[in-house]
Symmetry: C5
Subunit: 154 residues, 5 copies
Amino acid sequence: MKTIGIVDTTFARFNMGRAAVDEIQQNVSAKIKRITVPGVKDLPVASKKLIEEEGCDIVIALGMPGAKEQDKICAHEASTGIIQAQLMTNTHIIEVFVHEDEGKDEKELAFLMEMRSREHALNVVNMLFHPEKLVKQAGTGQRQGFEDVGTLRH
Amino acid sequence: MKTIGIVDTTFARFNMGRAAVDEIQQNVSAKIKRITVPGVKDLPVASKKLIEEEGCDIVIALGMPGAKEQDKICAHEASTGIIQAQLMTNTHIIEVFVHEDEGKDEKELAFLMEMRSREHALNVVNMLFHPEKLVKQAGTGQRQGFEDVGTLRH
Amino acid sequence: MKTIGIVDTTFARFNMGRAAVDEIQQNVSAKIKRITVPGVKDLPVASKKLIEEEGCDIVIALGMPGAKEQDKICAHEASTGIIQAQLMTNTHIIEVFVHEDEGKDEKELAFLMEMRSREHALNVVNMLFHPEKLVKQAGTGQRQGFEDVGTLRH
Amino acid sequence: MKTIGIVDTTFARFNMGRAAVDEIQQNVSAKIKRITVPGVKDLPVASKKLIEEEGCDIVIALGMPGAKEQDKICAHEASTGIIQAQLMTNTHIIEVFVHEDEGKDEKELAFLMEMRSREHALNVVNMLFHPEKLVKQAGTGQRQGFEDVGTLRH
Amino acid sequence: MKTIGIVDTTFARFNMGRAAVDEIQQNVSAKIKRITVPGVKDLPVASKKLIEEEGCDIVIALGMPGAKEQDKICAHEASTGIIQAQLMTNTHIIEVFVHEDEGKDEKELAFLMEMRSREHALNVVNMLFHPEKLVKQAGTGQRQGFEDVGTLRH
């Protein structure tokens, strides 16, 4: 059985990890390893440990970077580290970040955080079990959390 | 026979991978491995896996970064990772990015995405089969998708 | 017995390392290795040496980046290195940075530096001894030094 | 006999590689390996392959980043990769970049590209054959392509 | 006997390496290996080679980034590389950068370059021979070249 790692943060203001776990369990039978770290900069090594020490076949790293300039820099550092961790393990880590200023109010932000977590959980299911489905979606303007924008009219 | 890897995204709004595959097949006999990932930040490890797990001799990584500031940062992170992946494998990964704001409308953007994908596919063919052709083009102001600008008048 | 590494700087204007050591000793029985380096850019390798040469199970890296633009860049470089050090060792290094311009005066800045050092020391204790406590705090908007912001109302 | 690697791009608008080769051949007897890649982001792995697969003792990586903001980011990514490639091989790769907006017209730009390529080629010759000459130039404000600015008056 | 590596640049406008060597020799008995490279981007691999090929126990990397925006980016790339080099060798490389625009005139800039080189040379001596002295200075607002700012009043 495949193992999916889930790592989220205490800094985020919505339980993104729970949404991802729920979506996976509704769609596929897989072993799930879940941990939580303080902030997004702790996600890279946590993800790498899930892969190398817990045997995860893929990891979902979820976080909510804050709205301040300094928070944007932290998010950039975290993303860079998540890419490095993937290259060091030859394993995908799907990053699910929702910036605190992406929603116009708390309700919309929470909705966005839940939807993006769920839709990327489905991406992970497809990457693990049905990679050919992604090839069929190539160039179709998929978006997670927002409505898909579709293929260019030409 | 040489193997060329092609990886593109579901986020893009034009099927760049298909254009690259078509251009290669019109010009050379090579084995092609194609996969699709959600977004540009998934390209680095996908490319590295094509090289190390699928035996690709070179990879074309195609994506369409969005027009927002945050999208530009994602593109930068992806590019950094693609360079790292090359250094870890001693193998070229030709990055083909078309930013969503490079075209003045959907039609021009689609045209640019197709042309840049095809012209970089030809670069890959030359790098693999005729590297001496590139030396002859050194300093000649080649552009992919846009018209070549040529050598400086001096 | 677990070993916790503490590294701080002579550049900082508050003894962050002492606050972290004090908080740990009040809460848990662990071996502590403490060193001090000149500035934040010296923290990555110092942390890695604490892990690989001194056997630390986790490290707290504390610093106070200055308020100037150049100092912000140094902080970014340090953070990037701290993430790399974690990936190279599969060990968490909790970064505790307080920017010199985060406090409105010296008193508030000192208070913030002490509180953030102490609260992150507690995070480290939990990560090492009670990781399940962090999962319970997932998505609850924890902040270190400032008041927690809580879960989104939705 | 020492081997010097030369890698330049088809994107550049002046044949920088040829200028570097010519300058080396006028000054020293060394084996030269020359290749050309599409753009500056292809330079890091090309340089690393020259070192590891072609036995080069040092490499000159020449490019002309474009004048647009996006081109500046590409140059930054390329430079970061070139530094990484050096660290992975313990071998110097001398980066020779002339930004397209450094010259006031095509003639000046071409002149600058030629001069900087030639002067850095001389640096490479010195690093390889006469490293003590560089120590004698320490702190003397050397510039490549522009006039030297000299030691500070104090 | 301990070995200290010193690497500086021909781009700088003050002989920083000589100042560092002089300060070390006045304070401690150690073997010194000195080299000079063209610019700050050549410092990372030069430092790593001093450690791995010349047996240095610690390195001082000195440079004067220029005042232009592009020079700031070069300094950032160099700093990132210097941190990487440290992580790859588990050895401290103390970066001593004085930006060309830090002094109000040539005289002040030269003074700053000399003082920062000397004060960081003392840091290196302490790190190598008296690390406990640095712990005593933790949080005391040490500055190199400028006057120390001291501990926060609280």
